[in-house]
């Protein structure tokens, strides 16, 4: 009902942000931020602390509303949609500090990710219909497939809280992938990872893109973003400072001044 068609034509972008504004108290967290993410690409948002990266992330995922501006996902306005509706439409996310279901096993965590793609409710569970059993079986298969994709199939029955931190992050990505997303948002996926794990993460993210999932990541780690991103947006104090391919960003005067630092 609220879905309006995006006004401007052009190359089919999966996510399109138009003139987003958000302030907290007197602080302007985001002002006039616009960009487009093309399907099948890795798009990174970088910037120093307090640049508005996380705010942008939380607005796209529906945690809090924007004051002005528009967000189009697959040509439809998604501002003011509820979080679970966004997941249903194919937007999944991970958290900066890894939020797993800690009392549950690794496999169960991924199975919760299948929630939106399955439909058994209270009655289905109580009556235990044949289709419920089939659905469970398919969900198990899909979950195990995703666990082996991120390399955690051998610890499927362990409690997720018992995994080392790096594995927990990979598990969180598998859980997000279980929702069959078209767009996966990653909030600082490399934070807390060592150099080896960061490298593995980079490879994994590229494999995810090759599966046809578009990635939007907010990141601090420059080596990761420069290495794998197709396009980069630099935010500074809530404003767009620069946007372009990694090479262009590395050469950009304003970015070097504000963020990378002069040598």
């Amino acid at each position: 009902m609220n879905d309006q068609k995006a006004s401007t034509a052009g190359p089919q972008s999966l996510l399109k942000i138009e003139a987003l504004y958000k302030s907290f108290g007197g602080i302007q967290a985001l002002s006039d931020v616009s960009f487009e993410v093309l399907p099948g690409t890795i798009y990174a948002v970088i910037g120093p602390n307090g640049a508005g990266k996380t705010t942008l992330f939380n607005i796209i995922t529906g945690i809090y509303p924007a004051e002005a501006g528009a967000i189009f996902y697959a040509e439809r306005e998604i501002r003011s949609k509820k979080v679970h509706e966004l997941v249903n439409r194919g937007i999944a996310r991970t958290f900066q500090n890894v939020e797993l279901f800690e009392s549950m096993t690794v496999l169960e965590n991924v199975l919760v990710g299948r929630h939106v793609r399955t439909r058994c409710g209270f009655w289905g569970a109580i009556c235990h219909f044949p289709w419920v059993r089939n659905e469970e079986q398919e969900a198990h298969q899909k979950a195990m497939e995703l666990l082996s994709f991120v390399g955690l199939e051998n610890v499927a029955q362990s409690r997720s809280a018992d995994l080392p931190f790096g594995w927990q992050r990979f598990l969180e990505i598998a859980r997000a992938l279980a929702t069959d997303p078209r767009l996966l948002l990653l909030d600082e996926p490399a934070s807390g990872l060592n150099a080896v794990e960061t490298e593995q993460l980079g490879i994994l993210l590229q494999q995810i893109r090759d599966r046809g999932v578009t990635l939007l990541l907010v990141e601090h780690d420059m080596s990761l973003t420069m290495g794998i991103s197709d396009r980069i947006l630099v935010l500074n104090q809530g404003r767009k400072l620069a946007e372009g391919a990694p090479r262009e960003i590395q050469a950009d005067e304003a970015v070097i001044n504000a963020y990378l630092g002069r040598e």
Binding site: H115, V116, G121, F122
Partner: protein, 317 residues
């Protein structure tokens, strides 16, 4: 397999125990188990506290008592009505209430329990006020009166058995996983597409319906009800059963309900010091088995098993 053993155990107990006092005690354990099972779905699995569950227990008892005593309805017609009205009230309460979390949800449900308690006590024309309602008819199944012998025992434990299966199936399903997900991290559950507010409301309704069913069974067992059976202390006792038995454990509900019903009976030997010893036992359980009885017992079993297997490996070397 476990279900067969459990059913057999119930049948054998009913056949073996003939002393009316013990039969009644066991029947009460069954009623409390239904209450604890329901609250465990809400508290143990979904992680939402309710300090007013006696209100739903009372609703089941009073609705059935009023319709059968005042209006001469059959109890079997009163039962669906009681469950339906309880579900409706629980739904209306849950929608605004479950926006609260933690202590605030505890306070909110506490207040709801108080309101219903006052209603039971003051609406004298219907509820009989503080002196209660007498002459609630016993249940009959066709021509069989469940009043005599162990009939009521079998009825209650039959219901417990069905409730067990219902809870177990929910817990091991997509819904059960979503409930536990809400308990662990509501934010992450939402990010997985779980409609957290809706699911919390439904599990609250389910848990209220269980309590209402227990209230119905209670009213027709004792044939007399008064508001004190549904006051704040009762709500706390149900919470204690869940916590002592083990949160998020179906068998824990049975264990907690049994312990909290039997303990006061066993402690009669302490006479004046009964309540002190009772309190001490509960404190000891929480200090030494903070996860509750089921988890605590399972953990120590696994520990001793691994210690034993390690010892046997060492012996082989």
């Amino acid at each position: 397999m476990r279900h067969v053993v459990f059913a057999l155990f119930i049948a054998l107990t009913g056949w073996w125990v003939t002393n009316p006092y013990y039969v009644q005690l066991l029947t009460f354990i069954g009623i409390y188990t239904i209450l604890a099972l329901g609250l465990n779905m809400l508290m143990g699995y979904a992680g939402q506290i309710s300090l007013g569950h006696a209100a739903f227990y009372g609703l089941g008892a009073y609705i059935s008592a009023i319709t059968t005593v005042h209006w001469n309805w059959s109890p079997w017609v009163a039962l669906p009505l009681a469950l339906l009205i309880t579900a409706l009230i629980a739904f209306l309460i849950a929608v605004p209430m479950l926006k609260l979390t933690g202590y605030y949800l505890g306070m909110g449900t506490l207040g709801f329990g108080m309101i219903l308690y006052v209603l039971f006590r003051e609406w004298s024309s219907l509820t009989g006020g503080a002196s209660g309602l007498v002459g609630i008819p016993a249940l009959t199944l066709g021509s069989i009166s469940l009043d005599s012998g162990n009939g009521y025992f079998y009825l209650v434990w039959g219901v417990v058995f069905v409730c067990f299966i219902i809870c177990e199936r929910i817990v091991n399903s997509r819904v059960g996983r979503a409930l536990r997900a809400i308990h662990d991290s509501e934010r992450a559950a939402g990010a997985m597409g779980v409609n957290t507010s809706r699911l919390k409301v439904w599990v609250f309704v389910l848990s209220a319906v269980f309590a209402s069913l227990a209230g119905f069974l209670y009213a027709h067992l004792v044939s007399f009800i008064s508001p004190t059976s549904f006051d704040f202390i009762v709500s706390i006792r149900i919470v204690t059963m869940v916590v002592i038995g083990g949160m998020a454990s179906i068998w824990g509900s049975l264990l907690g309900a049994s312990l909290l019903t039997l303990l006061p009976e066993w402690l009669h030997v302490f006479a004046d010091y009964e309540m002190m010893v009772y309190g001490l036992v509960l404190m000891a359980v929480m200090i030494f088995l903070p996860q509750g009885l089921t988890r605590g017992i399972l953990d120590s079993y696994e520990r001793s098993k691994s210690k034993y297997s390690r010892a046997s490996i060492a012996a082989q070397d």
